[in-house]
């Protein structure tokens, strides 16, 4: 059953950090769907201002993603030359592979 926020939508938490090479890392946890995908989009837009070579999404604690959420990850390819998805759960990985997004986003490991 969905974990619902106060407004009835799914709950997502987005945190920004950098890895050892200085590349931005955006950690997305909870559930990313049509009700909150815009929040991630705004974070990506602000990250894109620095024109990073590489952008990493840490998805280890992302439990659910829908097609609106996947579309935001796809659009992130316009913000950086290389976009990586780190540690997606089997559920998220399955959708990334089915839709062919794995061909344009590097999934690690």
């Amino acid at each position: 059953m969905a974990e619902l926020g106060d407004d009835g939508g799914a709950r997502v938490e987005i945190e920004r950090a950098s890895d050892s090479s200085g590349a931005p890392v955006v950690a997305v946890s909870g559930e990313l769907d049509i009700s909150n995908a815009g929040e991630l989009e705004e974070v990506i837009i602000s990250v894109a201002e620095a024109a990073p070579e590489r952008l990493v999404f840490d998805l280890a604690r992302l439990r659910f993603i829908d097609s609106a959420g996947l579309a935001v990850l796809l659009r992130a390819t316009r913000a950086a030359t290389e976009v990586r998805l780190r540690d997606p759960s089997p559920a998220v990985r399955r959708l990334v592979e089915l839709t062919g997004l794995a061909d344009v986003l590097s999934v690690e490991p």
């Binding site: 969905a2 009700s35 097609s67 796809l74 559920a91 089915l98 062919g100």
Partner: protein, 414 residues
């Protein structure tokens, strides 16, 4: 006459509920087209009226789109080609003369007349372009419906913001929400095929369940087209997101797919052409499943762009067609996208189900769990096709769904 006065006059005419009604073209310098829809909810009926401005000089802004670049077209409301009834065109001199084709297409209570001519003088090319006649008309009509829905959603959102300030109107607001949802559903039905075609040797049925949480138009669609040679082309797709953008993208893809299928219905070829049509701007993506059914030969060929394989059910069991999906549309450039058709034969009285992700996706579980749940539920049923689809829609979707669900089924008659 002001917009409220026009609305009042329009409402005064006798209307059927659940039908999208159109005014004629109103005004000259700032021409508009009015829409009205009536629906019933909670023991009362209500009506909504909206007006859309027509493009300045009626010149279309979609003419640069490659899909329409080979054609001159003019769309009129009604059966005439009078300049007063012109809605949109991409030519400067009307009426269109020389080699042309005119098609009258019903929409709601109104009729549209679409006149199309080739831009060059190549008659052969023109007749190959004829499928686009239907494509252009379909896109424009879907846009009209989507614009209206978008407007209704915006209006509700404004009312909701007010309602948070005024507690006492909250109950009224909830009621309005239900009503507008009913309108949105009415419109969604207006955008999808009104009824499924009659087939020789097989029965076809479809269900659409809108998302429980919103009133927006969704991006799911399906079409079933019987071909002259007895085969049947079937397509189901899902554009990421909701709202006007998803609905307009859906309209373009849907009608482009029908036009490509009219030229050559091979599923891998249709997906390849669609992927050229869409490109890879990474703005959105769409998953699409194309199926070509050989009813007499008891077989089907299916190709997927990031979409789940169809389920085949017969006396022996239920299995998903083994296939390798290519990338969803909009993800990769066409030159890097490869689509392969998988051909399987089916037993007499087999049922084939195609569906969008709302039917199988659940939070916190891998897609395969949902696919297994659908398979097991379909196996337990020994129902008519209509009852099977109704049961699946009831048991596998709920009010909490944030995603639309479309189910398309075809059953061979033994």
């Amino acid at each position: 006459m002001s917009a409220p006065q026009r609305a009042q006059r329009f409402f005064a005419r006798e209307k059927r509920p659940g039908v999208l009604d159109l005014t004629g073209v109103m005004g000259t310098t700032h021409a508009t087209l009015g829409f009205e829809v009536r629906a019933s909810a909670a023991n009362r009926s209500f009506a909504v009226y909206a007006e859309n401005p027509l493009p300045t000089d009626r010149r279309s802004r979609i003419e640069s789109n490659s899909a329409f670049s080979d054609l001159h077209y003019a769309l009129y409301i009604g059966r005439s080609q009078r300049s007063a009834d012109l809605l949109v065109t991409n030519v400067s001199k009307l009426p269109i003369e020389g080699t042309h084709a005119a098609e009258v297409v019903p929409f709601g209570t109104a009729k549209f007349t679409l006149v199309v001519a080739p831009k060059g003088s190549l008659g052969g090319v023109f007749f190959r372009s004829l499928p686009w006649i239907i494509a252009v008309a379909g896109v424009l009509m879907t846009l009209a419906g989507a614009l209206l829905t978008d407007r209704l959603v915006r209006r509700r959102e404004r009312a909701e913001r007010l309602a948070t300030v005024l507690d006492r109107v909250a109950a009224e607001n909830r009621e309005m929400y239900r009503e507008q949802r009913s309108i949105s559903q009415t419109l969604q039905h207006a955008l999808l095929p009104e009824k499924m075609p009659e087939l020789r040797g097989a029965q076809v049925s479809a269900r659409y369940v809108p998302a429980g949480a919103g009133v927006d138009v969704g991006g799911d669609w399906y079409d079933v087209v019987p071909l002259d040679d007895g085969r049947v082309f079937m397509i189901i797709g899902d554009v990421s997101g909701h709202g006007l953008r998803a609905a307009t993208t859906m309209a373009l893809l849907r009608h482009a797919a029908l036009a490509y299928a009219a030229e050559n219905p091979a599923p891998d070829g249709v997906l390849g052409k669609l992927s050229q049509f869409v490109g890879a701007d990474h703005d959105y993506f769409a998953t699409v499943l194309c199926t070509l059914l050989d009813i007499d030969g008891h077989g089907l060929t299916v190709a997927s762009a990031g979409h789940m394989a169809p389920l085949v059910i017969d006396e022996a069991g239920a299995e998903y067609v083994a296939m390798t999906p290519g990338p969803a549309l909009g993800v990769m450039r066409a030159s890097q996208s490869r689509y392969r058709g998988a051909t399987v034969s089916v037993r007499p009285s087999a049922t084939v189900l195609a569906f969008t992700d709302g039917l199988v996706e659940r939070r916190g579980e891998v897609l395969d769990v949902g696919l297994a749940r659908l398979r097991n539920l379909a196996l337990q049923q020994r129902l008519s096709l209509d009852d099977l689809l109704a049961t699946l829609a009831r048991k596998l979707t709920s009010e909490e769904h944030t995603d639309d669900t479309a189910i398309l089924g075809i059953q061979w008659q033994s």
